[in-house]
Assembly symmetry: C2
């Protein structure tokens, strides 16, 4: 009987055993250990691109095509600025940050979206997003206890949807059906996604997101390019998006969440945006770099760990001495760490294996 750990078994593909020894470019993976064995493995594909579309580093296949999910939000918000809707409706930075958010339904988030909706004259009935368990454990508990009854504005995507409604109103497009493919709002956003990602609109895949809005499918490399360009752009509109997200990290995600903690830990130097099913994107404006990663199995528990690891390795290589303090508690709790059971006994760890491949300049 053969004796291989799952780590080694991960090198067994299609029933054939190649590569039992780690390769120089062994795939990046987040490993959950228990005792002496790797219990579960998450494979991660990464693309790091500069604003001129040079691939700087990668793991797995940077050309993997997947859904951008909520990591598309800054680009879904950009038309608000470019088309004059944000100016016309006097969007504050808080409201722009919330339009880019996957928020936790905390009071601060509900207050900002409610203020925006009231000013625009929209109600919950106008929002096409559905109700889900709030991402904030505290808010979710309050809902479970019947202390609050969530409505559409409680959706983590409500800021995005309010922004889409504002765009429709500004252009005097119908607000009804604003979320669906083919509506002028979605066509306008598709054009923006194409512009920043470098993928022709006709080649951007489209589907329905968890919140009913259009979801965009792109290679990771194109997502990273869009973020690199967003951060490095000299145009007023992307600069306002970056400034709004940088100024209001709590509104972009929520208490204790990595997007929020990372932007607080390295103010003005990083924009980060999570997406469902293991997507994470980031822009490093001063370095004109964009990062996009996907956990192949969609596991969120691995995506944040992977983002921190990739950023730390990237900065060590391209900007030594720069970056947040990855060992500070606020960040470390999202990264590599010990695992404990229901009685607080250490059972294993979340660790990182494999390589981020740096490409010759």
């Amino acid at each position: 009987m053969g004796w291989r750990t799952l780590t080694e078994a991960a090198s067994t593909v299609n029933g054939l055993r190649y590569l039992l020894a780690p390769m120089p470019n062994d795939p990046l993976r987040i490993e959950m250990t228990r005792g002496a064995l790797v219990e579960s493995v998450h494979h991660v594909a990464v693309a790091i691109v500069d604003a001129k579309n040079h691939l700087v580093a990668a793991a797995g296949d940077p050309d993997s095509v997947t859904w951008w999910r909520s990591a598309a939000k800054p680009f879904q918000a950009l038309p608000l600025l470019q088309d004059g809707a944000a100016e016309h409706f006097a969007f504050s930075d808080e409201e722009l940050a919330l339009a880019c958010a996957s928020h936790s339904s905390e009071p601060c988030h509900l207050e900002v979206v409610s203020r925006l909706m009231a000013r625009l004259g929209f109600s919950d009935e106008d929002l096409s997003c559905g109700v889900h368990t709030p991402l904030s454990p505290a808010v979710a508990l309050a809902v479970a206890r019947g202390e609050a009854v969530p409505s559409a504005r409680w959706s983590n995507c409500s800021g995005k949807h309010a922004g889409m409604l504002a765009l429709a109103r500004h252009h005097e497009w119908p607000t009804r059906g604003y979320n669906a493919a083919g509506h002028p709002v979605q066509d306008r956003i598709l054009a923006e996604v194409a512009r920043w990602s470098g993928v022709p609109a006709s080649q951007v895949a489209q589907s329905v997101d968890g919140c009913t809005a259009v979801c965009f499918g792109l290679p990771l490399r194109a997502m990273a390019l869009a973020y690199a360009r967003l951060g490095a752009s000299g145009e007023a509109e992307p600069r306002r998006i970056v400034a709004a997200m940088s100024a209001h990290p709590l509104l972009v995600a929520g208490s204790g969440r990595l997007c929020t903690d990372l932007m607080f830990a390295w103010p003005g130097q990083v924009i980060s945006k999570v997406g469902a099913e293991g997507i994470y994107c980031a822009a490093l404006p001063a370095l004109a770099l964009g990062v996009a990663l996907k956990v192949e199995d969609g596991e969120t528990r691995a995506a944040g760990v992977a983002l921190l690891e990739v950023l730390e390795r990237l900065l060590a290589r391209v900007a030594p001495g720069q970056g947040p303090d990855f060992r500070a508690a606020e960040l470390a709790r999202h990264g590599r760490q010990a695992l404990f059971n229901t009685r607080g006994t250490a059972t294993g760890e979340v660790r990182v294996a494999g390589s981020l491949r740096f490409l010759a300049a």
Copy 2:
């Protein structure tokens, strides 16, 4: 820029692109689609073994070593019968089923464990398992609402722990520390795990489980052998375990859970037991077969889908016409199915790709 879906990218290993075309033995995987793309992929390793230790079918690497987690419970309960503790303490079939359970903390589970603990003279303080959110959504909601305060007996593993305490009491071993490696209870269980799995005790890996008890590490193939032998055994003790689990599917898991629904759907013909981090095991007593599978990334959402798929393919091959109705609602809801978003719109599906390799007899 290359255009590959993640399905194809999954064939990109260690940065080299082999096998872009599916192989005859392409790996078994559970795919979560959205629109036209596979969004997330779960790789599954499977071992199907008969009671004489012939490998009947496999996917991925059947010799992968991983933790048995809660799928070890029937073997952790066996010493109760073999050493006379079950007879001495007059264990009912309900109590034996609960000793093999990862239960949902529903009233029926709490009633059985409470009755057993009271008869044995043990209290919550004697149990080493910690408190966690109940697996039953309804019970978890009641706890969140403060309508119930969970204690150690609410742990999904409380039946196993009560059984371990009973074994210690029966042998007049100390009950304190019964959960830890090196305690006579755990040594006794280790010997039983070794006997059924065919792995020498000295080669069985040990670590700490989520509930603080010893967790055993084995190749999937050895887990499958243990289940095949358990189901096919003519000895009174394993027959009693199989009978108790078969007679009380609700006690082994809980309302709406796959273990329970599968044993109700094919009464007396299947014993199934889930474990944390993507483990699933099953015995088919009449066919003298055992099944063990592991989702490489530990995702529970894929483990049940994989078990149903593997059982359906196995039965079609080795026992056509036998088996439960996999299309009946009670089972189908755990398997391949459409996915919907927060507004009930179909967004994709959970589907199965790849092969289960059948080996020549």
